[in-house]
């Protein structure tokens, strides 16, 4: 890994710690709730940034992947499991340890946490492959059409199915407790650890994505972006690389949704809505497609403002207007990459100044 990247990550981590310390010192640590949620949304945004900026594909279904992760774990961890699986089956499963009941009356059955996350990951990968097939077959923006359709279908399914709680969504989702670890949930005594856990996930995702960008895969993606025809003439299997990136970004969205649902103790159908997908696309556009750091910062800022209710009931309108404004006035996003380079350069020279 390059030295400059350590600096960026260190700066970023310092910013996270600073936010926590300041808010706690000011006694406004309830603001950490929105920042934690923004972190989970940021997972979606940076994944989408890789897909849009580096693989040149637009997904209008990332909210659906987010909701998929959330709804699956919500179903797995609430008593609605009894509506899907017979009681007899549940007791049998609980004997093996796949399912366990956390209250005395056997009313609340849950899939073991060690299983629910892998299940979400596997289901997401399978769905992403099925939807991603058009990119292997066709050129152009067919993926955005396929994901748009997927988003609408999933939204309607969540809205209309009893297991998914219809218009109410699913509430009372239990915290995601890993034995020997604090529970991932909304309990106020665990607010600070939860905040750090969420941002820890974002940093892991960032390291993963930055490594991809700098690897042979990233080089191939840039080549595809510059000239798809020439890239395939170099022996790059263009479809395969695009599909890999699509799967990675879908996974990040689903994992974001997974933890967000536990943190919020619930999820509603609006998370799967098409407007949510448009919101992610517009955040990536504002951050500057192939600018991971820019997207991350805009993802946090805009989601935070939206969650704090600064946009009022014009929430969706604000994001729609942003998308249009960016496309007209600053198609490369509002950040110049040079800004980040300058900051990095500046920080990297601080030790030298001290040594003088």
């Amino acid at each position: 890994m390059k030295k400059t990247r350590y600096i960026s990550l260190a700066l970023f981590a310092a910013g996270i710690v600073a936010c926590q310390l300041i808010f706690t010192a000011l006694g406004t640590d309830y603001l950490l709730i929105q920042l934690t949620m923004s972190a989970y949304y940021a997972l979606v945004v940076i994944g989408l940034s890789l897909l849009m900026g580096y693989a040149g594909q637009i997904s209008l279904g990332h909210a659906a992947f987010f909701a998929l992760g959330g709804y699956l774990t919500a179903v797995f961890s609430t008593n609605q499991l009894q509506e899907v699986v017979s009681h007899e089956m549940l007791t049998r499963l609980s004997r093996i340890g796949i399912v366990y009941s956390s209250d005395a009356h056997d009313a609340l059955y849950r899939l073991h946490p060690a299983l629910s996350l892998p299940t979400v990951i596997i289901v997401t990968i399978i769905i992403a492959i099925i939807i991603g097939i058009p990119i292997l077959r066709l050129k152009g923006h067919y993926l955005s059409m396929a994901t748009l359709g997927f988003g609408i279908i999933l939204y309607r399914i969540f809205l209309g199915t009893k297991v998914f709680g219809e218009a109410d969504g699913i509430s009372n989702v239990a915290p995601f407790d890993i034995p020997g670890f604090f529970p991932i949930g909304g309990e106020s005594s665990f607010r600070v650890p939860n905040y750090y856990f969420a941002w820890f996930l974002v940093i892991i995702a960032l390291v993963l994505l930055l490594n991809i960008i700098d690897s042979r895969v990233g080089r191939a993606l840039r080549a595809i972006h510059d000239s798809e025809e020439a890239a395939s003439a170099m022996g790059v299997d263009t479809g395969r690389y695009k599909l890999i990136v699509f799967i990675i970004s879908a996974l990040l969205a689903a994992i974001g949704g997974f933890f967000m649902t536990h943190y919020n103790a619930g999820i509603g159908p609006s998370e799967a809505g098409i407007m949510k997908s448009v919101r992610y696309v517009s955040i990536v556009a504002v951050g500057g497609m192939a600018n991971l750091w820019g997207c991350l910062i805009m993802g946090v800022v805009l989601n935070y403002l939206s969650l704090r209710g600064y946009f009022g009931s014009y929430d969706d309108a604000v994001f729609g207007a942003l998308l249009i404004a960016i496309m007209v006035f600053a198609p490369n996003g509002i950040f110049k990459k040079e800004i980040f380079d300058k900051i990095r350069h500046f920080v990297s020279r601080i030790p030298c100044r001290f040594s003088k």
């Binding site: 042979r216 080089r219 191939a220 840039r222 080549a223 972006h225 510059d226 000239s227 025809e229 020439a230 890239a231 395939s232 003439a233 170099m234 022996g235 790059v236 299997d237 263009t238």
Partner: protein, 244 residues
């Protein structure tokens, strides 16, 4: 080395290539000449697997590659330098060359790739002086050299060049063609598509004349240069006489 038989290809309802057949032997420079819209680029694209043929067969090195995708064809040793160069404009010259060896990294030929890059710098000295410059900022001629060097980085058995003279100044065209001629002495086999018939026939061993999707004529370069129809249509001989 390359043999195509009765290939029919096109886009959608449009048929561009109508039963074209040709072959290229090892060590040859073969050129396909013809005017605008004759189907030359489509034919190369079809051989390289960028568009699929509807009928006919394409054999490369005695293997049927008719239905293979373009990346598979490239890894068999057939490289295309696409029309209009299409260098990776956001990458540096060096990165472009490394991209050219993309399939070879998987085979673990790292040291050979580095020595091949040196070889390219000897062949195209201008690329060495520009190695850290973004490819998009190069001049047209330099981009064309880069595109050829990039294709050579894949160590192709057969190099296909699509209109390397397109949009270049005559002096640069001369340079490019002398380099192509030089490549043969390194043992490369070349299939060259050109509108600049005279320059192409001067360096080629054999040539094919293509018009509206058909191969009209074939012969050695000398035969084609002396052919009255070719002279009139592509070499501008008659035109000069009328003026005189």
């Amino acid at each position: 080395m390359l043999r195509i038989r009765n290939v029919v290809a096109g886009y959608g309802n449009l048929t561009v290539i109508r039963r074209a057949s040709l072959h290229v032997k090892t060590g040859e420079i073969v050129t396909i000449i013809g005017g605008n819209g004759a189907g030359k680029t489509t034919l190369l694209g079809t051989i390289a697997g960028i568009n699929q043929s509807r009928e006919g067969e394409i054999f490369f090195d005695n293997h049927d590659i008719t239905k293979l995708s373009s990346d598979k064809i490239t890894s068999r040793g057939l490289s295309l330098v696409p029309e209009g160069r299409q260098v990776f404009s956001s990458m540096t010259v060096l990165e472009n060359l490394e991209m050219g060896a993309f399939i070879r990294y998987r085979k673990g030929e790292k040291d050979e790739i580095i020595s091949d890059i040196e070889k390219m710098y000897r062949l195209f000295p201008i690329l060495e002086s520009r190695k850290h410059q973004q490819a998009g900022t190069l001049s047209g001629g330099e981009q064309q050299m880069l595109a050829i060097a990039r294709a050579l980085m894949g160590r192709p058995k057969l190099l296909m060049l699509d209109e390397p003279s397109l949009g270049l100044a005559p002096i640069i065209v001369q340079q490019i063609f002398s380099i192509i001629k030089e490549l043969r002495s390194f043992g490369n086999t070349i299939l060259l598509v050109e509108q600049n018939a005279k320059a192409a026939l001067n360096i080629a061993d054999r040539g094919y004349v293509m018009e509206t999707g058909h191969i009209l004529l074939e012969g050695t370069s000398k035969e084609l240069l002396e052919n009255k129809d070719v002279q009139r249509a592509y070499l501008g001989k008659e035109y000069r006489r009328i003026n005189e």
